[in-house]
């Protein structure tokens, strides 16, 4: 059996990749995908612990996260389309209207 530390290391790598992608990338779509990467990194650690402790709650949690991620994807993509229509760009550095 694969020890749990392997899963956790992979999960950490996935999460850090997501964070870095979020911070570095300028394209909104890419940023969006980085978020998904972070979520799945977390999901991996959930299922790993679930398997380790023979508890179903971790797996149930993962389903919740996936449902939320799906909903977020729907809303997020809609927002991205709206942003593109008004701003004609997907570069987040040019979408800074919240600034005073």
């Amino acid at each position: 059996m694969v020890p749990i530390s392997y899963y956790l290391v992979l999960s950490g790598i996935l999460f850090v990749c997501g964070v870095l992608g979020f911070l570095i990338k300028r394209n909104i779509i890419t940023i969006f995908m980085s978020i998904e990467l972070m979520l799945n990194g977390v999901n991996l650690s959930f299922v790993a612990f679930a398997a380790q402790w023979h508890s179903l709650s971790g797996q149930v949690f993962v389903f919740f996260v996936m449902v939320v991620a799906a909903a977020e994807a729907a809303v997020g993509l809609a927002i991205i389309i709206a942003v593109y229509r008004t701003r004609e760009t997907l570069n987040v550095d040019q979408v800074n209207l919240l600034k005073l």
Binding site: L23, I31, D93, L100
Partner: protein
């Protein structure tokens, strides 16, 4: 004591009029405003008359408890009204003269933009004055006392766009504050010592006490503090300075508030508190001295004034001094008698002066009048009657009351009497001077001659052209005629001491035995007639002197003024009292406020604290706001850094 359920309506009626005109007057027509003001004021007068007719000494005094007000521990101060012989006289004077002046105001103020405001204020004043007069306890009286002060302030500053009027209103209010402070402390002392402010209960507690001798005592303290209050309201030395300035108000106001009613509130209050004063001889002596000095002092200032209303204002101060002198020698009923006759003839004098001012188009300087007897015969004759009355020529009203006061004063000390007689002489002189300058000679309005220029008696054409003086309408002359009749005949209620006996239940019943010996019996009839003859002859002498100086030898006054030099200047400038007060009180107050309170406390501490904390907040936010860049990735960076920090902390501390 008998309850009388109508008593409370007397003050409430004018209040209703004030409310209606005050709230809805702006939209109403002037006719409707006049109708409401006159109806409610006249209603109060008729009701007062009706109650007075039914008034009998057997069932008196009347009272009515309208509602509870203050009930704290043993202290009770309710909205209750009280009517005895003293308040009856005051009530009739206030409603009667007040009603006449309301009618007059309709004519006088008709063209003023603030007509509805004026009528509402007048009614409001009537409400407070009647509350003051009909109060059953000192606290109710104090409501009225403050209320008339407010009405007075509003009406003095009625033409508030004029700086001098606004300043005069403020001055009256602030000077009165000084007096009210004394009044208030007196009330506190009464509560602290006797636990009640109710007139019957309080006086019943004080009555058995022996007079306090030359030292001091609680009653002396209360008496002196009450007198401080009376000095403010009734314009006595040293607080009289507001009254002459109060002439900035419209003339009906000067007649109603600053001659006939409000300024006599202090006399009424002292008379009402006679039980206290009779047991505090020191305080009573102070009242007499202040009254006597004020009478003389103000009369001398009146000699050199050229503004017709200022002469009358100083005359009012002087006459109020007479009333206090009467109270001070224990002749309260004589003081109240003079209060009543003074309300008639001084109200008349002011209204007639208003008629003159109205007739010559707003001019108040007597040097620019003259010869008006030809243009305004009615005003001339009623003002003549009032002048004879105030000068003390028999058988007019002023003669009876003034003579009564002088006789009583003589009985106490010849010094009071002598000063009183000198004052009577001066009074007669300046009043006839006013008459000669206003109505005698030729009209000086068109060509602005100097007052003391020689005037030929031959008629020439000047003053007959455009804008010549004219008689006032009947709505103004009517009240003048009624007041003239009262000034003519009002004194006869003093015939055979009827007036005094009428007030006896108030003043004698409570008097301490042995103190209230009737004055006239002490000296005998002969002495009384001698005193009477002297006071009449000085009045005649004053008239003669005025005739000599201002009618037959009109160039003399200027020469006399010149030869007197500094003394004349001092009198003409009111002895520089205003300047002295400015130097002693106003300037230190303003300087102290400017340097310490304004620049020091307000700007240095309060403003500085507020501004500095605001500055600090701004500097901090200036730095912090750079975090709020609007850049999505920088926000994400902050979040990531924060998360990393939390994790690092947990790892460091050891996660459990």
């Amino acid at each position: 004591m008998t309850p009388n359920p109508y008593l409370w309506l007397i003050p409430i009626l004018p209040l209703a009029g004030a409310a209606i005109n005050g709230f809805f007057g702006r939209q109403s027509s002037k006719k409707a405003i006049s109708a409401i003001a006159l109806t409610f004021c006249g209603g109060a007068f008729l009701l007062a008359l009706w109650i007075a007719i039914g008034f009998s000494s057997a069932s008196a005094p009347y009272y009515f408890d309208l509602a509870h007000w203050l009930r704290s521990g043993d202290l009770r101060a309710d909205f209750s009204f009280y009517l005895d012989q003293l308040s009856l006289v005051m009530m009739l004077v206030v409603t009667g003269v007040g009603f006449l002046i309301h009618i007059y105001s309709v004519g006088y103020m008709w063209d003023d933009d603030g007509y509805y405001r004026f009528m509402a204020y007048l009614n409001l004043f009537m409400f407070f004055m009647l509350t003051l007069v009909l109060a059953k306890n000192y606290l109710m009286m104090f409501i009225g006392w403050e209320g008339v002060g407010l009405a007075s302030y509003l009406l003095i500053g009625f033409w508030f766009t004029k700086d001098s009027a606004a300043a005069a209103g403020k001055k009256a209010f602030i000077v009165n504050r000084v007096g009210d402070f004394g009044f208030l402390i007196a009330l506190f002392l009464m509560i602290q010592r006797y636990g009640t402010l109710d007139f019957p209960a309080l006086f019943a507690k004080i009555q058995p006490l022996a007079p306090e001798t030359a030292g001091a005592g609680i009653l002396t303290a209360i008496g002196l503090l009450l007198m401080v209050g009376a000095c403010g309201k009734s314009a006595q030395i040293p607080l009289y300075v507001w009254l002459p300035d109060a002439m900035e108000g419209p003339t009906p106001v000067s007649a109603l508030i600053h001659a006939a009613t409000m300024v006599t509130a202090g006399v009424y209050m002292v008379a009402r508190s006679h039980v206290i004063f009779e047991r505090a001889p020191t305080a009573l002596t102070v009242v007499a001295i202040i009254g006597t000095l004020t009478a003389l002092f103000a009369a001398t200032i009146g000699i050199a004034q050229t503004d017709i209303k200022k002469v009358l204002a100083y005359s009012t101060v002087s006459q109020l001094g007479y009333m206090f002198m009467a109270c001070g020698v224990g002749a309260f009923s004589a003081g109240i008698f003079h209060l009543m006759t003074h309300a008639f003839f001084k109200g008349l004098l002011f209204l007639a002066a208003g008629s003159v001012i109205h007739g010559v188009g707003g001019e108040q300087d007597m040097r620019k009048m003259g010869g008006l007897r030809l243009y305004m015969p009615w005003t001339f004759s009623v003002m003549g009657i009032a002048t004879l009355a105030i000068a003390g020529i028999p058988p007019l009203a002023g003669f009876w009351s003034k003579d009564e006061i002088l006789a009583q004063a003589f009985n106490t000390s010849w010094v009071y009497w002598l000063i009183g007689v000198v004052t009577a002489f001066i009074t007669s002189f300046y009043m006839f001077r006013l008459m000669y300058m206003t109505f005698g000679g030729d009209y000086r309005g068109a060509s602005a001659h100097d007052a003391h220029d020689a005037h030929a008696h031959a008629h020439d054409s000047h003053g007959h052209g455009h804008g010549e003086p004219h008689e006032s309408p009947w709505v103004m002359l009517g009240p003048l005629v009624v007041l003239a009749l009262l000034s003519l005949l009002g004194g006869f209620v003093g015939w055979g001491n009827h007036f005094e006996h009428f007030l006896d239940p108030v003043f004698k019943a409570a008097a301490e035995p042995g103190m209230q010996e009737p004055a006239r019996e002490a000296g005998g009839k002969a002495l009384e007639y001698i005193l009477m003859a002297i006071s009449v002859s000085v009045a005649a002498l004053g008239w003669l002197l005025a005739h000599l100086l201002y009618s037959s030898r009109p160039q003399l006054p200027a020469r006399i003024a010149e030869s007197l030099g500094g003394l004349y200047k001092a009198v003409a400038n009111k002895y520089y009292v205003d300047e002295l007060y400015a130097l002693l009180f106003v300037k230190p107050l303003i300087d102290g406020s400017t340097t310490i309170l304004w620049h020091g406390v307000d700007q240095g501490v309060i403003d500085a604290a507020v501004n500095d904390s605001a500055d600090a907040a701004r500097h901090v936010s200036d730095e912090v706001r750079h975090m709020q860049s609007g850049n999505l990735r920088s926000y994400a960076g902050w979040i990531a850094a924060g998360g990393a920090l939390v994790i690092a902390y947990m790892v460091w501390m050891g996660v459990r």
